[in-house]
Amino acid sequence: MNAIQHIRQRSFGWFLALSLVVSLVACTEQSDPGALVIDPKTNGELTLEFDNVVGGTNLALGKATYKNSFGEAFTVDAFNYFVSNVVLKKADGTTYNVPNSYYLVRESLASSQLVKLTDIPQGDYTGVSFVLGVDSTKSASPVTERIGALDPGTYGQAVDMYWSWNSGYIFVRLEGTSTAVPADRNGYYELHTGGFGGMTGKTVNNLRVVSLTTPTPATVRTRIAPTIHLLVDAGKVMDGSTKISLTSLYKDRTFNGIHSPEAAAKLGLPDNQQGMFMVDHVHNDPK
């Protein structure tokens, strides 16, 4: 073997060793630049994941016993809420209103907790906001226009989430058993919030806008379908800015739970429920 060949072989060896080290040890691990290019002509997908919890633990319907700030034990037998008018906010401040966005999230229905938004312009989203409830215009629209999640008919999805023409939808429904509720009320508490302002008679407006920012951008791309993972703390219904005691609430023997816009507003439920939501993390997973 002549000297030049020898050097060539050695440098090839070094080159191989070096490229190996670089490919293995380079400390930042990233997506390929090509996968991060924004294609303005193709829209993408983004999923909102509503992960219901109580404090730091997963919400287990009917099974687990939780405690509110007064130390009163309770279970959660139903936890449902409406999310509507979703707005996605890009890092540059521009927003995208998701058209016709009305969703009913139920703890009892896993599929309802994943809200998949399609046809979303590609970009980096750092914020999401939505209405907790069903907006006044939609609530007041003819029932034939309220389909899917908003169908209040006997076999409709919203059958247990609707009061009446004037009171409208139940925006948030929380109920369950509690030892703090006397036996003559079956030891069962009900905290139902609604009220869009009323149709024929004026009611209080209990609609609230929830605005959240994400800890890292959700990067919607041709090959990336992010999930914004939200934690929704049902415990905040009783333990928000207003602390609610079931014992004092149910001490009046005629009291049978919160079932009207005015009662919900008086108890401070709308503001408590506005504070239930937080973004825990974002997944920028490949499609």
Binding site: L20, D32, D51, L114, R223, T227, H229, D285, P286
Partner: protein, 303 residues
């Protein structure tokens, strides 16, 4: 000294419905102390690995799961030329995932690996097993083939919809390795390093590149035709994160460092051995996956 330890390691884990948490994944590959005799051999090895996957640390609404990976390997080594060694290993995999009361199982032929090593250094002076001075350096490479099945359904709930749970990775990988053995009388040491430059499979999935290595000390005790060899050492592996269609998958990759304990016995042309890896430090899949001890038992016949 006759011995072979040849680990094809599988580091895996499981998905939930929203995010695919995966371990280092794919067939990882570990060469232990190799018998330096110029002999062919054929053998079987049984190996087992277990993992806990903590989906709930990440997704409060998801159940944790346990995964068990077992395999039976057929391995062969032969010398077509004096300084050229060919190693081949073909695994048959048994995978199981337990999530609450739900148990999912999968079995099948895994990914075979073929390596060709060249003896750069091979010096020895052997009288008997108590009077040996030798050192050997082998370097080489080869391929991990895509012989194992790699298909799953994202919609069929009885499937574990995770690339890591498949018997094969679906891709052909380039493998590079080096082995150095030093033996002075009854004592010896073995150093090896192994790297895998991974390919991309038909689903656009690219398992991260990975390396592993070990440093093992051993001792040989002989009675006539019978010898035993206890060994102790350190093992480490590191995997880069996976990509799909060029998109990084955050909950993949990671490292593991383990203490290794082994005991091999030789009689005539037969070798039987057991080897354990006890994790001492690890961070797999962003900490969502926890590896338990690994065990391997092998039986080989030399020719």
């Amino acid at each position: 000294m006759k011995r072979l330890l040849f680990f094809a390691l599988l580091l895996l884990s499981i998905p939930g419905w929203a995010c695919d948490v995966c371990g280092c994944s794919g067939t990882n590959f570990y060469l232990g102390v190799l018998p330096q005799f110029q002999k062919h051999f054929v053998g079987f090895r049984y190996r087992t690995q277990r993992y806990d996957t903590f989906m709930s640390r990440h997704h409060i609404d998801q159940a944790d799961s346990r995964e068990s990976f077992q395999a039976i390997d057929l391995w062969v080594r032969f010398y077509p030329l004096r300084r050229v060694q060919v190693l081949a290993i073909a695994p048959y995999q048994f995978h199981q995932q337990t999530q609450g009361n739900v148990v999912r199982r999968l079995q099948g032929l895994g990914d075979a690996t073929v390596l060709v090593n060249y003896k750069l250094i091979d010096r020895s002076r052997i009288r008997d097993s108590a009077h040996v001075v030798k050192h050997a350096l082998l370097v080489g490479g080869g391929a991990k083939l895509a012989t194992g099945a790699h298909r799953y359904s994202e919609t069929d709930l009885s499937d574990v919809a995770n690339p890591n749970f498949q018997p094969g990775t679906g891709a052909t990988d380039l493998v590079l390795n080096g082995i150095y053995t030093l033996r002075v009388n009854r004592w010896g040491m073995n150093v090896d390093a192994n790297a895998r430059i991974t390919g991309t499979n038909a689903e656009g999935y690219h398992f991260g590149n990975r390396v592993n290595g070990s440093l093992i000390g051993f001792y040989v005790k002989q009675w006539g035709a019978t010898a035993v060899m206890p060994s102790v050492g350190l093992y480490a592996e590191y995997a880069r994160k996976d990509h799909k269609y060029g998109v990084l998958i955050q909950e993949t990759g990671g490292y593991l460092a383990a203490a290794t304990l082994g005991l091999d016995a030789y009689r005539g042309n037969w070798v039987v051995g057991v080897n354990a890896q006890l994790p001492v430090q690890q961070r797999i899949s962003d900490g969502l996956v926890q590896a338990h001890s690994r065990l391997a038992i092998h039986l080989s016949r030399m020719f």
